[in-house]
Amino acid sequence: MRTTARRAVQAVCVLTTASLLAACGAGKERPSEDGTAVGVTDTTIKVGAHFPLTGPAAPGYSEIPSGHQAFYEYVNDAGGVHGRKIEMVVKDDAYNPTNTSAVTNDMILQDEIFAMVAGLGTPTHRAVVQRLNDDGIPDLFVSSGSLQWGDDPKKSPMTFGWQPDYEIEGKIIGKYVKENMPDAKVGLFLQDDDFGEDGEKGARQFLDSQIVDVQKYTPGGSTDFSPQMSSFKSKGVDLVLGFNTPSYTALSQIAAQGVGFKSKWFYSNVGSDPALVGGLLASMTKGKIPAEQGVKLMDGMMTTEYIPGVDAPEDEWVKLWQKVWDNYSKKGDEKLTNYRIYGMSQAYTFVQALQANGKDLTRESIVETLEKEGGSFEGPGLAPFRFSEDSHMGISGTSVVEIKNGASEPLTPVQVTDIGDAPIEEDDSAASDAPPSSGIPE
């Protein structure tokens, strides 16, 4: 009996202690119920997102939330949206889908967010889409170009894309290559998940016969891509299309040089930021080259562009971002980068949606607003959103550019299309949208 009692007492003690400890850890009050939905009060809106603040995808991408936060501060200081200030919770998932699932759980149950805004990554966000939709939580402007965010609104009614999806990017790149480099032997360098798969799908619409080799990598796996580059080299590849994240652009370049593989390179927009990749390259090569010189290592690479970036300081949008960044960047964050611009551009769209929604904000209403009005939002995007009841796909087009001295020089005008066999058409109409003078969407 003594052992029995003692063991029972032990077990009970453990449990009680655990629950007590847990109770003090999670002892946050539920938000007041004044608002119309979870995460919304009369004066606040709480949103959240998962980003890779650490891990292999962190270079570049970890800067995106600071863009969001700067723009929300800017809006909040101007009185917020319908009297509500926007608060953003940012959680690190290290680009590991399992972590994404865990931190999303925390954001839903512990932080009680109203909506997920700009959660980043194809493999990562894929892990939580079902969950967010099951629980009826708006999942807006996913920071990824995978098709699954918007191609089936019936399956994922709460989820909306934002940037051009990888399929249309692949299509536009494919068409450009087919028309301008018809003899190129193309190698695909793909992230081994839906990201790479969607890009490949688009590119193959035009380049199926030109693709001679496909090599993949696992984010978080080996960082030595010599074997992949050797394979390209032995297959005689002279143009590589990369659907990969920025650090892998740098690593593939280093590996190519290491095995003496020479080629033209065409990286998807998400992996091509010259400042970031140039900086990484500079730090990895012989001796220490200043980052500015590292940017030169990117010269001649091709990529796509769908929002104006830091290389166009005279653009009205970039001027706005610069102004916001100058006033609202946190200490320690240095200069404005393309990733911060990306974040601010997304934040702009979110504020636009909140404005259009009006004062009565619910999880259903924001979705309805986007479906009804999102297609006509004017913003920094060079092409319009495709939001409607039948599609939750984001920006509908991009231009093809070549990188020179860290800046992009357009090779084509903005080309607009949609997934599937929709035709590719030139359409510059959205490229001339200008921000309102207040900088805050009306």
Binding site: G55, P56, K286
Partner: protein
Amino acid sequence: MQQFLDTTLGGLVLGAVYAAFALALCLIWRSTRIVNFAQAAMAMVTTYIALSLINADVPYWVAFVAALAAGFGLGALIERVIIRPVEGKAELNAVILTLGLFMVLHGLTAITFGVQHRGFPAPVSTNAIEVGDTSIGITPFGILSIVVVAVVMAGLVVLFRFTDLGLRMRASAFNGEVSRLLGVRVGRMLTLGWALAAAVGAVAGMLIAGGDLVNPSFMDPFVIYGFIAAVLGGLDSPLGSVIGGLILGLSLSYVTGYVGEHLAPLVALGILMVVLLVRPSGLFAAAAARRV
């Protein structure tokens, strides 16, 4: 054919680095009969120290020497403070202790230096060498890596075979009590063994980091690959460690190049199990069979 050659050369460079790492494990095993599962984390710390210096515009080779010195000091410190109490105790204790050390060093580095991926420069070019107009799949940095490992290996051979200090260290490792009776300061020798091993590990870290991105996890694969290379050669034999490293490097390079990178750890596991179950004393150990 070209690809085979490139893969082979890549495997040799990789193998040289595994060899250096296995050598470090072997040194510690010889002196204290402990497998140091924290070796990779220790090398990672010293590499970060070097990176901080390089980013402060210290010349590469000065930073290289600093990493070595830091490794030496770290190894000595760890042996004195943490390992000494478990020397000669149940072997499970030392295993758990070094695993704990691995986690602590990992986390502390992440807190101190941040978890971002950062570029690490190489002292010489990382571009393939060109002969005529074909390029071969080896870079000056790769050649340097092989040379450095060979020099370290030769240095250790000279130390152990031909110097009194080396003789003292070997004697302490093999029979502490008798060595003490002969006047050898055994404790100091064991500390020196760890220090040397950590310095060799630091060299390996520098070679792995060069021309690559580093983050606090960049050495993690070496926890297992270094161990496998060392076991392959028989944990006791420095020469065996080097050959074990080369074999493992080549095998993994072929697997990655022709089958898929994701299978590399599985193949490594297969190699390890075959060696442990079929030839437990390693492929090259002359010593009598040992218990695994």
